[in-house]
C-alpha cells in the first residue's frame, strides 16, 4: 500500500471512530504529545489502559457475583477507576457506560448494574478491536501519520 493510501486510510479510520462517538477530544490531546522521540506514546498509554481495564473488569465481574447483597460502594469505587482510565484515553462511549453504571450503583439497582456492565464490556471490546486495527495501520505507515507536535 502506498504512503498516500495509508494516510487516507488512517485518517478515515480515525474520523470514523469520532463519528461513531467512540472517541473524544482527549484522544487528539494525546496524539499531540507524540513527537519523534515518542512516536508511539498514544499506543503505549492505551496499552496501559487495557491492562488496568482487564484487571478492573475482572474485579467488577467478581464483585457482581458476590450478591446478597451487592456491595454498591465497592462497585462504584471500581467503576470510578475504570471510568478515569477510559476518560484519560478519550474513550467517549465507554465512559458514558461507566456513568450509567455508577448511577445504577447509587440507586442501589442491582439489575441495572448488571445490564449496564454487560453493555459496557461490549463497548469496551468493540473499541479495543478498532483501536488495535488503527494502531497497527499507524505503525505500518510511520509516526508522521498521526498528529505530531512540531516541538
Amino acid at each position: 500500500m502506498d504512503r498516500n493510501q495509508s494516510r487516507r486510510q488512517i485518517a478515515a479510520m480515525k474520523q470514523s471512530l469520532f463519528d461513531q462517538g467512540l472517541l473524544d477530544e482527549q484522544f487528539i490531546q494525546l496524539e499531540e504529545l507524540q513527537d519523534d522521540a515518542n512516536p508511539n506514546f498514544v499506543e503505549e498509554i492505551v496499552t496501559l489502559h487495557y491492562r488496568d481495564s482487564s484487571r478492573l473488569i475482572s474485579s467488577i465481574d467478581q464483585a457482581l457475583k458476590e450478591r446478597n447483597p451487592l456491595d454498591f460502594n465497592k462497585l462504584d469505587t471500581l467503576m470510578h477507576q475504570f471510568k478515569g482510565s477510559s476518560s484519560s484515553i478519550g474513550a467517549k462511549k465507554v465512559k458514558a457506560e461507566c456513568n450509567l453504571f455508577r448511577e445504577y450503583c447509587r440507586a442501589g439497582n442491582a439489575e441495572g448494574c448488571m445490564r449496564s456492565f454487560q453493555q459496557l464490556k461490549k463497548e469496551y471490546a468493540a473499541l479495543r478491536k478498532k483501536l488495535e486495527a488503527y494502531f497497527q495501520l499507524a505503525r505500518q505507515a510511520g509516526p508522521q501519520e498521526t498528529a505530531c507536535r512540531s516541538k
Partner: protein, 202 residues
C-alpha cells in the same frame, strides 16, 4: 536546615521546575509525566500520598536534623486515591514548615464544588479537572516559573515561619479565590478566571 524559600523557588539559571506528581492511576501518571516533560519540567512521579510524603521526608521516618529536603517547586496530586486522598496530602504539605509554601495543584475527574472549595480553602493553588490538558499544565507551570505573587518575593533565611493559617490565607486571596459560580462580578484576575473555569467546565 533548608529554608522554605529554598525548596520552592526555582533555582536561578537551572530553568527547570521540579514537579512531584501523585496519582494512583498508572495511565494518568504516564500522561502527567509526559505533559510535564513537554512543559520543560523535571518530574518525579509517585503512586500514592504516602509515597509522596516519604519522598518529601514528611513521613516521620527521617530526622529533620541534617536531612536535606528535596527541592520541589510544584506538587500535582490526584484527589481520589485509596489510602490517603489528595486532600489529606494537601493538608499534610500545608502543615509542614518546610513544604507549605510549595504550590499544590489538585486534579480530579469530578467537578464537585464542595470538593473544589475545600481544596482551595486548604491552600491548593488550583483545581484541575481531568483529563488534564497540556494547556492546563503549561499555564500552571508558566505561572509558577514567573514566581507569581507572594511566592516571588525574597525571604531571608532568618525569617520566622509564621503559622500556616496566615500564609495560606494570603495565598488564597492572591490566587485561589473561593468564588461561587454564580458570582459573575469577580475581578478578571487570571486566578479567579482559572478557578471559575475549572468549576464551570463539566
Amino acid at each position: 536546615m533548608a529554608a522554605a524559600s529554598d525548596v520552592f523557588m526555582p533555582e536561578v539559571g537551572s530553568g527547570k521546575l521540579h514537579v512531584l506528581a501523585v496519582d494512583d492511576s498508572h495511565v494518568d501518571r504516564k500522561v502527567i509525566e509526559r505533559l510535564l516533560k513537554i512543559s520543560s519540567c523535571k518530574v518525579t512521579v509517585v503512586e500514592s500520598g504516602s509515597r509522596a510524603l516519604q519522598y518529601l521526608g514528611l513521613d516521620g521516618e527521617k530526622s529533620s536534623i541534617g536531612f536535606d529536603s528535596v527541592k520541589v517547586n510544584l506538587i500535582m496530586t490526584d484527589y481520589s486515591m485509596p489510602g490517603m486522598t489528595g486532600y489529606e496530602l494537601l493538608k499534610k504539605i500545608k502543615e509542614s514548615s518546610v513544604f507549605r509554601e510549595v504550590p499544590v495543584v489538585v486534579m480530579s475527574s469530578e467537578n464537585i464544588l464542595t470538593r473544589i472549595d475545600s481544596c482551595l480553602e486548604e491552600g491548593a493553588e488550583e483545581f484541575l479537572l481531568k483529563p488534564v490538558k497540556l494547556s492546563d499544565v503549561k499555564r500552571v507551570t508558566d505561572f509558577i516559573m514567573k514566581g507569581e505573587g507572594k511566592k516571588g518575593h525574597k525571604r531571608s533565611r532568618s525569617d520566622d515561619y509564621s503559622p500556616p493559617s496566615s500564609s495560606s490565607s494570603s495565598i488564597s486571596t492572591a490566587f485561589s479565590s473561593v468564588s461561587h459560580p454564580c458570582d459573575l462580578s469577580l475581578p478578571a484576575s487570571p486566578s479567579a478566571l482559572l478557578s471559575k473555569k475549572t468549576r464551570l467546565s463539566i
